[in-house]
Symmetry: C2
Subunit: 335 residues, 2 copies
DNA sequence: TTAACTTACGAAATCGATTAAGTAACAACA
DNA sequence: TGTTGTTACTTAATCGATTTCGTAAGTTAA
């Protein structure tokens, strides 16, 4: 690797001069500067980030903490989308992304220790167990942190607006004329809670009667269970005319179960998913769903994290809400 | 941040002694060593990776080059699975993962420059344009490189065995009694080529007549086109009894088109996908597909890359083939 | 002409860790 | 007793870059 020393030798100047010339300081002669810059380019010089980090205490490295138990990690459409957009936004600002280990590594470092070891300037937290003591340690540290879809009182949070998403979805379904609406909700979590609360609030506002048997549970992305539950709903004496699912995968499970019965969507029964994953728009019929704006979620998270790093004083600790968008699709029909 | 200097001061020894004590050198007294280790723990010491990297020239950092044009990046099930498993395997060996920028960043570095800047000890290439001059530059550099699903003559490649996968799939379909088999293949690529070649080879071996109209094209993961093509195939005077798709998403598109016709899978027509993504096993009927071993692909890539780094002499430049696995599912019936 | 500034550069310290080389103190051995 | 070895440290150089301070040479002003 060619270093400043090498350039200095070639140009017959000191290392200090090279550094100044390459970093655009003012106390360098025009000719000297140009010569150094030219030589640096010719020699293929690139700064050594370790050396620079050591001296300046800036690594331009951001951590991503993202647990992937049971393949629910990078292969999880929603979070993969968020992380991807976070990455792109961070890269545009000259930052690189490093994953924090979720598994125990050789050195048995905690998340915080790992962050310090790598000199991460900030960390984004997504899709993890926020009650994990190690996560708590990180959140209570002095490292800038932004969380996604979870709110700590001392940290910036970027939240997908599940309440308004559910509201919009339910409104749409209602306006299509549906009054017998079943809701298969996800397992217990902050997201599920937000959506359910919203569901019942809107239902009440609309004087919609929702019998207990219309409210069912199925884990996220578990199309099999969703399919089973769907069949049970269809067998009710008074079956719903529309079923809402926890996510699009589940809706696919439901769709299969319905088609298997020989029923047609949306003629015989309507369904809606949530998330707006790619495949949802390619199904037949096109799935009605709330497309979560993963793009915006990731980008905002990066923007805020970098702002925390570069201007901590003027960066507000706030909760930022990202709206989902109704994709009307074709799976909810008029009644 | 607490440094060795701080520990040295507290323990009344030199920095060198601290370093040796913490790194398990032999020329340190038992008591001194224990005292230093205890103090280090108490003070919450963690090494500074930048300083260590600067001195030792080892960063324990691996690069991942992974272009994500058009959302086909981390949200691409197959590659996300591979990268995820690569990450886990690398982390187990004490390495961290850094993404190489695919977009141009502030400093306008090439992939190689970026790798050098960050001191990446090796890079894994996946899902990119391998003919890109910047990729070529990286491949021809002296940085250890492992490629996934692409073969350079001077680099280790980890290849999913598309030929044997297609063979196994076609054999299965054939053994179920199918003789009228349509094949919707992906767009032109090395992967498509490998599968097609294999398809025709096996077909020939089996004396299977494949009319031209049975061979169609649809882009990867384009369920809409796959659905359209499926309808066209169904309308043929002599329609196939089984359709093979480029991937599982496409198969879902086909599945929808078929169900829409009121046909039943696999009673009226059989279908098979490729890849073995999560949702495939949750469809009704369960999709027959070749599950690509993303787990093994990523893990082997990490293993080989680390081996190139740690014992370059004894590491063979080779092509490693990872077999897919037939998931029988329920979407191909007996005839 | 001389004091006061500018300009353009260099010397040296520094960041935190590693490591070769050196050195006391003590023990072992002939 | 003198030589050799061992043990347990310390000193100091080093990795590559940044930055403070210093200074020689030239310029301007009085």
């Amino acid at each position: 690797m060619v270093s400043m020393k090498d350039i200095a030798a070639v140009c017959n100047v000191s290392v200090a001069t090279v550094s100044k010339a390459l970093n655009g300081h003012s106390d360098i002669g025009k000719e000297t500067k140009e010569n150094i810059q030219k030589t640096a380019k010719e020699m293929g010089y690139f700064p050594n980030s370790s050396a620079r980090a050591l001296r300046t205490n800036r690594t331009y490295n951001l951590g991503v903490l993202f647990a992937d138990e049971a393949n629910s990690g990078l292969t999880h459409d929603y979070f993969a989308g968020v992380i991807n957009s976070f990455k792109v936004a961070a890269e545009e600002e000259g930052y690189d992304i490093t994953f924090l280990n979720n598994r125990k590594n050789k050195f048995n470092m905690s998340y915080l220790e790992h962050s310090k070891y790598r000199g991460l300037e900030g960390v984004v937290l997504a899709c993890i167990d926020f009650t994990d003591p190690e996560v708590q340690e990180l959140v209570n540290s002095n490292i800038p942190v932004v969380t996604i879809d979870y709110l700590f009182n001392n940290r910036i949070a970027i939240m997908s607006n599940n309440a308004s998403g559910m509201q919009e979805l339910l409104n749409f379904v209602y306006n299509q004329g549906h009054r017998k609406i079943a809701y298969i909700h996800g397992a217990d979590s902050a997201v599920t809670k937000a959506r359910m609360t919203s569901f019942f609030k809107i239902a009440e506002e609309k004087d919609l009667f929702v019998p207990d048997e219309y409210i069912r549970e199925a884990a996220y992305r578990d199309a099999i269970t969703a399919g089973k539950v769907t069949k049970e709903l269809l067998e009710l004496k008074n079956p719903p005319t529309c079923i809402l699912y926890p996510d699009d995968y589940s809706a696919i499970g439901g769709m299969n179960a319905i088609k298997e019965r020989g029923l047609s969507i949306p003629k015989d029964i309507s369904i809606a998913g949530y998330d707006g994953i790619m495949i949802a728009s390619q199904l037949e019929p096109r799935l009605t769903t709330i497309k979560q704006d993963t793009e915006a979620l990731g980008a905002r998270a990066a923007e805020k994290l970098i702002s925390l790093i570069e201007k901590p004083k003027s960066t507000l600790i706030e909760m930022i809400t990202i709206e989902g968008k109704l994709i009307e699709g074709k799976s909810v029909g008029e009644i």
